[in-house]
Symmetry: C2
Subunit: 482 residues, 2 copies
């Protein structure tokens, strides 16, 4: 089925990505340059991401709310770093209802300003704290070089915004939500991510500190897949978010924000996919099991369809997301390739022999060919499928972790660092955090600093940055990144 | 608790509405005029509306997708009626990324155009039909006179968009989704709505026919709460949505669209509320049961808190949305008023005597005072609460239906019609569907035509419109409307 094929990853990873996104029906280009249509199969994946994250947000005490799309332009200017960071990316509404507006409106690129304004109204006393809010929304950032899911002018995301009485509580919240993202990535998306702090250059415009989860894609590039910011009192001071403490004294709040977007769909595609197409982690896959009937004539058809319909019903009743592919204009071989391309974790086949033996065939997407296929007696189908879904998740997570670990290397000198990066891997090395050092690495290798991983021992006093020779502040990963 | 009170409905219904929305923490004004912040309590209500509708959409074969916020201005102009209807309400982006755009972008007021464009790409043959898509999104319509939830510049909604091979299928879809809305209103929101067809004046810009559900508010005004449009081939022709039929001939598709918005929150507030505040239908209420502990000293407190915590846990485990109000800075009386204001269907009280007798008190929001309060033995709590939630739903639905039916009257003459409308009720009368007739009624009474209800017998040949004397096309409701 040549037309179903995709460019091999080894030949051109970016072409592979574009092929997969389009052939698997995840997304489509939209008439306005840089914007995207998320097609049903891609949106169902996003809905499953949303449901899993939303449950985690609620379990940690957050409530959803909704704030306006349009922000007065003057709001953007209240926090100096923030406006500097976002001004070049803004879409501006100048006309409404047939008239030119007195003050132009900004289409939100992120909502710290408008939510900060609301928090200032809502928070009076320490009793109102912490205030823990999340919103699911679309945001717009004018981008010149866009790529479906990874970087689009408009994207969907959640943005959490919280206010606290103390710096320590804000920091604890920032780290808690970073953990929520990392746990979600591991337990739902089967992606082992590295948690770390960004360099000052990569920090969110207006934050004291930005933390991220970084995932390694199959081409070894890094993808920042979620961020959590400790905003200190920067927005509290810009928007006058104050509370009366227990001694009846006015204090500025400490705020945080954290976000994860449809970019995560890109992380899943590029973190797991292979030359046959997508490989979806079972806990997020819109379709966990696809059922394909196999028959040659009408006699066989009626028996097979009866058996497979009952099997599908049993899986569905058990809460498994199952789809019966009963298309009549394509043959089973086409269907096998099609669903492999779409990354469905388990394929269930029922043919005349299976009906006879009261069995079914189960093929796992993560193990190709005969090795991944088994025949099970019909009574064992449900328990086998349930076990397979967990086993596929574990196997995908293990594969991704092994792949990642095989491509992480420590560098003791700048030359070693360059060698590792030129080979396409990630380098971990003592780094002074400066822009100057980062620029030097980027010029030599196109790689940038990804993060100072949280999981590291403090450096011995006086450890030198491998790039500048000045005092390092910690070890950081460097890699090519999206 | 004077500060918690709201303006009585009978004194000023609009002031009552504004008071309730703000005091019950449903929504807040935003810095940009006409836009709104949906606060957590209001948003949780919207989430429950979404979940109930989304399940119904999926059960009827629809899939969710997401289309862009920005639409090229030229797209709006492709369907003549559509541009005429929406042009005055558009917000326009003229600048992006620091530059003036070559073609300004429209912030979607609705998505027929951009989705029509995508459908034209996606649909090739009859095998691709029907195409059944829904999107949850924000839309912007420039409004001068806004009111929280009812009419805001930006609002949240779902918009369904479908394409079909035949006119009959498109009409069946249009009616099916109208039924979905009406069933949802009745079974989830406890609102009995009238299904009907809009007059040509009130038809969606670009539709062949628009159907709506109309709900009666407690001030007897009508609120259009959901609409379903048969778009004929209007958008198919404007956007070239064609398919190859089974004879290999190119045909234009027949399309529909249908939407329900955060306006439904307004319908719930005004369809059920009373002078004590909100009354939320149990199946949508963010909090179905609020638990209030009652004690006078620390000894009592520990017993009461232990008992009430266990009771809350039992309800929660049974899937009931329950909240324990353990605030220490306000007394139980304040809490009772507060939760009454917020419309929580059931209040659970546990005091020292309840602990002694192993009982709890249950008060229902829909039946005020002692009559609505009962004491039940602790083992019967769960079954009593479950029964109460259903019973409150049924009672609210019955009350709303009785209220509505008491204020619907048939008019046989124009004078009768005016008399009914001036008294504030709804008039049902033979109507020729003309703008001229509608204008005459509006001038005399400020009322407009709401719909030709579907539930009516065909008129005898030659029945005269009570307004113009010309041939009526059916009986229509007239009423004051939001």
């Amino acid at each position: 089925m040549a037309e179903q094929g995709v460019t091999p990853q080894s030949e051109d990873f970016n072409a592979w990505y574009t092929d997969v996104v389009q052939r698997a029906d995840l997304a489509d280009y939209a008439p306005v340059r840089g914007s995207m249509i998320i097609k049903p199969y891609g949106y169902a994946l996003w809905e499953n991401i949303q449901a899993a994250l939303d449950a985690r947000f609620k379990a940690t005490g957050h409530q959803n709310a909704y704030f306006p799309l349009f922000i007065p332009q003057s709001f953007m200017q209240k926090e100096a770093e923030h406006v500097e960071g976002f001004a070049p990316e803004l879409a501006i509404v100048t006309h409404g209802g047939g008239k030119e507006l007195e003050e132009p409106l900004v289409v939100r690129p992120t909502s710290e300003t408008v939510i900060g304004h609301a928090f200032a109204n809502w928070i009076q006393s320490y009793r109102d704290l912490p205030l823990l809010i999340n919103q699911w929304a679309n945001v717009v950032r004018w981008e010149l070089r866009t790529r479906l899911f990874l970087r689009t002018m408009e994207f969907l995301w959640q943005e959490g915004h919280t206010a606290h009485a103390t710096q320590a509580e804000a920091q604890a919240e920032t780290m808690q939500m970073l953990d929520v993202y990392a746990d979600f990535a591991r337990d739902q998306a089967a992606l082992p991510v590295i948690k770390g702090r960004k360099s000052d250059q990569e920090r969110f415009a207006g934050a004291d500190a930005t933390y991220s989860i970084e995932a390694m894609m199959r081409n070894r590039w890094a993808l920042q897949s979620g961020t959590s910011h400790n905003l200190g009192q920067n927005f509290a001071k810009a928007f006058d978010i104050k509370y009366l403490d227990e001694n009846n004294e006015l204090q500025f709040c400490w705020t945080t924000s954290w976000g994860l977007s449809t970019r995560m769909v890109g992380a899943i595609i590029m973190g797991h996919g292979d030359d046959q197409g997508l490989r979806l982690p079972p806990r997020l896959a819109p379709i966990q099991v696809v059922a394909v009937p196999i028959f040659r004539n009408d006699d066989q058809k009626s028996d097979v369809m009866e058996a497979i319909t009952a099997a599908v019903q049993e899986l569905q009743d058990a809460g498994i997301r199952v789809h019966l592919d009963n298309r009549e204009n394509v043959n089973p071989g086409f269907k096998f390739n099609d669903w492999e391309m779409r990354g469905v974790p388990v394929r269930l086949e029922v043919g005349p022999k299976d009906v006879e033996k009261n069995s079914v065939a189960l093929a796992r997407r993560d193990v190709p060919g005969k090795e991944g296929k088994q025949f099970v007696d019909r009574p064992q189908m449900l328990s086998t499928v349930t076990g397979l879904l967990d086993s596929i998740h574990e196997n995908m997570l293990r594969e991704a972790a092994e792949f990642r670990d095989a491509h992480l290397h420590e560098a003791a000198t700048f030359d070693e660092m360059v060698e590792i990066l030129e080979a396409g891997d990630w380098a971990l090395a003592p780094y002074d955090g400066s822009a100057e050092a980062e620029d030097k690495v980027q010029e030599a290798t196109k790689a940038t600093s990804r993060c100072f991983p949280l999981d590291q021992e403090p450096l011995p006093q006086g450890t030198a940055c491998v790039i500048t020779g000045r005092d390092a502040i910690g070890k950081a990963y460097f890699a090519r990144a999206y």
